[in-house]
């Protein structure tokens, strides 16, 4: 059982309910975690006000990585935007490519070849696996288990090889473009992918044994960092975070996109809503992705047909006025693009909704209160946040 | 051009120098004819006639030079190797009477007729002459005229058969 202290005294509150933190009292201390800190996820920092080893207040600071993508996109043509969107999320860039392409296709009225939908789903699941593998290393690392990161990096690298041979690049794939995908699967891809999936399953067995069936890990994560039921809607919680709270929300199932309505799966859920459960939901979701990839490869059209729809000449492609929102279920939750067009050759507005935007800001700031300093890193990682999708 | 007479005259000759002198005479007459014509035709097609006169002058110079050379036999057999195609030409074979004011097409047709006649003449001379330096010389002369005729023919088609819009 986790230790449950009496929270009634700290931090003290003012009459209006806000925290009464007087730094000169000597009771409180400012503690910065990040932007350079091993216990931080990417380029962000958290400003902690601690009382003893307990956090009284936490503030997320972002802006170390702001590139103004949404604004940049307003002065690039619809095709020119396709290579830049992937940069909004480094470890899992494909959702940007997919959501952007799908939004453009929807507003431009372009029908994508079915083959491209299958390949898109394949890529998104491959990206999800990579994202989870990176997370597992981070989650374990936040609790001192460096070896997990080494194992997951190895199998992730194998998946990067698959990305490289399919898309022509390892990190920024730039393969899903408005109109479809660039190409069919290379010859022999299925065999090599099957080998990679096998390696991933092996690695996950080891990770399960060493990380999850581990007394230390359990002690540090069970009952800690619980997302309360009533926060789920207040803080826009999605993805494994909401599924670990027992709510079977998964865009792939709820509002199936691409070919997900043709695949057999159930959303992976947990019930305790703590760090351990979220990690476990992600581990099982990873295995689900392995299964989905196998399903996709066996069910998709086996021949090499067209993968791109005919688009207008991309050099002066204009789209009628309209607005839409396209979402997908990424490894961290709901990823979505809100696209507004005005009849010109450029988007009027693009807004990127990354799950970290709510998770790492308002939700984290709520959750970190009363948290033990030593658990902050694990808590933050357990929300699986990627700062660039917060500030874009 | 008095074809029969020239043929007889050439055929009668046995010495290389004499043959050359007759041929030289041919070219001189032609040059003088064109030079004379140049003054008569309209200025816009004068270039054609002047070019023809120049060409004949070139032949004339060539023959004059040949007849002066000591090593003429070697020289001729060397030159004989140059092959020249002899494609048939059609609507220009018929020699028109050149009036006072011939147009470009008439001038060209006339010139082509002349070259053709000369070419045939040298060919037949060569055929009725036993192998040796004299035959080689006729062959050479025939090739010269053939080449010139080919050039003129190209010019003819370029000017007359321009194709239209």
């Amino acid at each position: 059982m986790a230790y449950t202290p009496d929270r009634s005294q700290y931090p003290q509150k003012k009459a209006d309910g806000s925290l009464d933190i007087d730094l000169t009292s000597g009771k409180y201390l400012k503690l910065w975690q990040g932007p350079q800190h091993p216990g931080i996820t990417g380029n962000m920092s958290i400003e902690l006000t601690v009382c003893g080893d307990e956090v009284a207040e936490g503030r997320t600071h972002v802006g170390y990585l702001h590139r103004g993508f949404e604004k940049l996109m307003e002065r690039r043509t619809f095709i020119q935007n396709f290579p830049i969107v992937c940069r909004i999320c480094v470890p899992e860039p494909d959702f940007n490519e997919y959501c952007y392409a799908a939004a453009v296709e929807e507003l431009a009225g372009i029908e994508v070849p079915e083959r491209a939908d299958w390949i898109r789903a394949l890529i998104l699941e491959m990206g999800r696996i990579n994202s989870y593998l990176m997370y597992l290393g981070g989650q374990a690392g936040a609790l001192g288990q460096a070896v997990i990161g080494q194992w997951s990096t190895y199998v992730r690298d194998l998946m990067l090889d698959r990305f490289e041979e399919l898309t022509g690049a390892r990190i920024y794939h730039m393969f899903i473009m408005p109109g479809g995908v660039r190409d069919n699967l290379p010859t022999g891809f299925r065999t090599r992918m099957e080998h990679t999936l096998g390696e991933i399953e092996n690695a996950l067995r080891d990770i399960h044994n060493v990380m999850f069936r581990n007394a230390v890990f359990e002690k540090r994560t069970r009952g800690i960092g619980v997302i309360e039921k009533e926060w789920l809607d207040s803080y826009g919680v999605t993805g494994p975070c909401i599924r670990a709270a027992g709510v079977p929300r998964d865009v792939r199932k709820d509002q199936p996109y691409l070919v997900y309505d043709q695949l057999d799966f159930d959303p992976v859920i947990g019930k305790d809503s703590d760090i351990y459960t979220r990690a476990d939901v992600r581990r099982r979701d990873l295995l689900l992705s392995v299964d989905l990839i196998r399903q996709i490869l066996s069910r998709m059209p086996q021949d090499d047909g067209p993968t791109m729809a005919t688009t207008p000449n991309v050099l002066h492609w204009k789209i009628e006025p309209g607005e839409t929102y396209v979402r997908g279920e990424c490894s961290r939750g709901e990823y979505g693009y809100y696209l507004v067009t005005d009849g010109s050759g450029y988007p009027r507005r693009v807004n990127v909704r990354g799950p970290s935007y709510t998770h790492a800001m308002a939700l984290f700031e709520r959750m970190v209160v009363n948290c033990n300093i030593a658990d902050v890193a694990a808590l933050l990682v357990s929300l699986h946040t990627y700062p660039p999708e917060i500030e874009r | 051009m008095p074809e029969g007479k020239g043929y007889k005259k050439l055929k009668a000759q046995t010495s290389l120098a004499d043959i050359l002198s007759v041929a030289t005479e041919f070219e001189r007459t032609a040059r003088d004819f064109y030079s004379d014509l140049a003054g008569k035709v309209s200025k816009n097609i004068r270039y054609l006639v002047e070019e023809l006169a120049e060409e004949e002058q070139r032949h004339f110079d060539l023959f004059s030079e040949l007849s002066r050379r000591k090593d003429i036999e070697d020289q001729v057999s060397q030159l004989v190797d140059t092959p020249a195609s002899n494609g048939k030409f059609s609507d220009c074979i018929h020699l028109p009477e050149l009036g006072d004011k011939p147009d470009d097409q008439e001038v060209l047709q006339f010139a082509l007729g002349r070259e053709h006649a000369a070419m045939e003449q040298y060919h037949s001379l060569a055929e009725s002459t036993p192998a040796g330096p004299i035959q080689d010389l006729f062959r050479f002369l025939a090739d010269e005229e053939t080449q010139h005729k080919n050039e003129l023919e190209k010019l003819y088609y370029e000017i007359v058969h321009s194709g239209g819009v």
Binding site: P83, I84, N209, L315, H316 | S42, N150, E153, S162, G164
Partner: protein, 602 residues
């Protein structure tokens, strides 16, 4: 918590006995995948310097630079993409959009330099170790970012069009024109090739935007024969179009026509605008064809008093008297001419210089004179029998048809010639035959083989569709006349070869392959010449000539300081070249007769 969860982590020890998974020598043992988007390659033989790669690069990483040793030509700007690897993100949009497929990527991804400027390089020019890499990203088959297929032009069906002289080409509708205009990548390679240097990408952009008034303004800035050129231009622009490398060239001519059709005719004058105030200078122009009327338009717009002398009853020159109405309706020409005349141009029809007025008179009365008399006289083969009354010249017949004269169509006829004039007369006579006899019997013989016809491929195709019997590689030998003196046909020989190695005419014939083509009429359409008799002997002698044509300088000025010459009579047959020449002489004349004005405008 169980004992298992304490022991389980120790399974990690098994990794002690595993081989490392890292690649021992990644610099050499780790080639990029076959479709890896590595360093760029550019095939110098294919690249045309269209700059589309630069246009699509969202990083601004590409500059188009002139390269030593690569000369520009009409179909190649000579520029080559220089890529800044400090900016490139290897998205390969440049490869995808490349109009010729010259730009590709290798699977090489390692490149070490100490000089950062070395990473700005011109692929294909700066030799790199990956230039011959077999693997790397190429645009996959069937994948396209720009349209490849030309919009089909609606046309009358052959059976329908042979019934009358109605215009065959119907013109694009707005939807089609937008789609066709959309294919253009606006590289502008075509501008240099267009004799009038029309701003092609700009007016195509106007079609895309649906802004036809803007389009019309752009057209008439450079071409007062836009309606005419939109129908019958030789469209050399389309032969250098970047789109032709991996698809159909843009239908530039049809788009021009489309603009002129979309603007109501009563709006033209207002869009083009009024001419400048009068300058008090005067110019005479001989010949109301494209060259003469273009010069008239330009000079009148500059405020000069322009008088045009036309020997025939209508303006338009060869566009009217040479081109059949099914290709170019007379009322279109008339509208174009009226527009030019509305700029304040005076025209005297049925007035022949040389007989009605002399050149000397014009020299005296005007500040400058332009000779734009075209090529009105048909050439004859002068084969035996060609002097027969049944042997006609195509240009004469076409002129008579235009004038509305009744022509007795022969039951059978032969046309000699493989150019557009030959097609025009064959198709015109076929229509008359159809009207008068209900059936068509037109044989067309040409020296050239079908692949070397001077006529446009469209003309050949449409002639065949309309029932014209085309016999290629036939050399005319004789017009056959029977004992009663009636023309009975044409004798031809087979042409074995027509060009020599330099591509010059040097036909050779096979006499044994002789054919007689029965015909009541033979029409010669082998070429045209200028009727320069109007100059008079004295002026002819004074002028300098260049191989049969009046010698002009680059501005179209002759050796006589008051006389300029332009159009087919000096540059050979082509509408748009004549328009260009018209502009040229107008500019030159304006600079000479109105030097101050020209200077301030410069």
């Amino acid at each position: 918590m169980s004992i298992r969860n304490i022991l389980s982590p120790f399974t990690a020890w098994k990794y002690l006995f595993r081989d490392p998974v890292t690649i021992p020598d990644p610099l050499n043992d780790r080639p990029g995948s076959p479709r890896y988007r590595g360093f760029h390659k550019n095939d110098m033989k294919k690249c045309i310097g269209c700059g589309t790669c630069e246009a699509i690069c969202q990083n601004g990483a590409i500059d188009m630079v002139a390269v030593e040793g690569i000369d520009a030509s009409k179909e190649d700007s000579g520029l080559r993409p220089n890529i800044d690897y400090g900016r490139c993100c290897w998205c390969a949009l440049c490869v995808d959009v490349c109009m010729t497929g010259s730009l590709t990527m290798s699977n090489e991804y390692k490149w070490v330099e100490s000089n950062p400027d070395a990473f700005r390089f011109t692929p294909g020019v700066d030799k790199k170790h990956w230039d011959n890499a077999a693997l790397g990203y190429h645009r996959p088959d069937g994948y396209q970012l720009t349209g490849r297929v030309r919009e089909q032009m609606p046309e009358l069906e052959p059976a329908k069009r042979i019934e009358s002289f109605d215009e065959i080409v119907q013109g694009y509708d707005v939807e089609q024109a937008k789609l066709e205009a959309d294919r253009c990548v606006a590289c502008g390679l075509c501008i240099a090739t267009c004799p009038a240097h029309m701003a092609v990408p700009d007016y195509i952009a106007a079609v895309r935007d649906g802004d036809y008034e803007r389009g019309l303004k752009i057209l008439y800035d450079t071409n007062p024969f836009s309606q005419i050129c939109g129908r019958v231009c030789t469209h050399r622009c389309e032969t250098v179009c970047a789109a032709r490398h991996e698809g159909d060239p843009i239908a530039i001519r049809w788009l021009k026509r489309h603009i002129t059709e979309q603007v109501p005719r009563d709006r033209y004058r207002a869009i083009i605008g009024d001419p400048a105030p009068p300058t008090g200078k005067s110019v005479a122009i001989i010949g109301a064809g494209p060259a003469g009327m273009t010069a008239a338009y330009d000079l009148a717009r500059k405020g000069h008093a322009v008088t045009v002398y036309e020997a025939l009853p209508h303006a338009g020159g060869m566009t009217r008297y040479g081109i059949p109405e099914y290709r170019l309706p007379y009322e279109t020409i008339q509208h174009e001419m009226d527009l030019i005349l509305s700029m304040g141009v005076t025209i005297h029809y049925d007035t022949r210089i040389g007989s009605d007025i002399t050149m000397q008179q014009l020299e005296q009365d005007f500040d400058a004179v332009i000779l734009a008399i075209g090529l009105q006289m048909g050439r004859s083969t002068r084969i035996p029998g060609s002097e027969h009354a049944g042997v006609k010249k195509a240009v004469d017949l076409l002129r008579r048809i235009t004038e509305g004269e009744h022509i007795d169509a022969p039951k059978s006829m032969v046309v000699i010639g493989g150019g557009n004039v030959a097609m025009d007369i064959a198709r015109s006579m076929a229509r008359l035959q159809k009207q008068q006899h209900g059936s068509i019997d037109v044989t067309l013989t040409a020296l050239e083989d079908l692949n070397h016809f001077l006529a446009d491929p469209d003309e050949i195709k449409e002639s065949l569709e309309e029932g014209v019997n085309i016999l290629d590689s036939r050399g005319p030998q004789q017009c056959q006349v029977d004992a009663e003196g009636n023309l009975t046909g044409l004798k031809t020989w087979k042409v074995l070869s027509i060009f020599d190695q330099q591509g010059r005419f040097a036909p050779s014939f096979d006499e044994t392959d002789e054919q007689i083509h029965p015909a009541e009429m033979v029409v010669e359409a082998i070429g045209q010449m200028s009727d320069v008799n109007l100059l008079g002997e004295e002026l002819t002698e004074r002028l300098e000539w260049n191989r049969g044509r009046i010698q002009i300088d680059t501005n179209g000025r002759t050796s006589e300081s008051w006389l300029w010459a332009a159009g087919d009579c000096v540059t050979g047959p082509d509408v748009v070249s004549a328009v260009a020449a018209g502009h040229q002489v107008a500019k030159s004349i304006d600079a000479v007769i109105n030097p101050v004005e020209a200077l301030t405008h410069a």
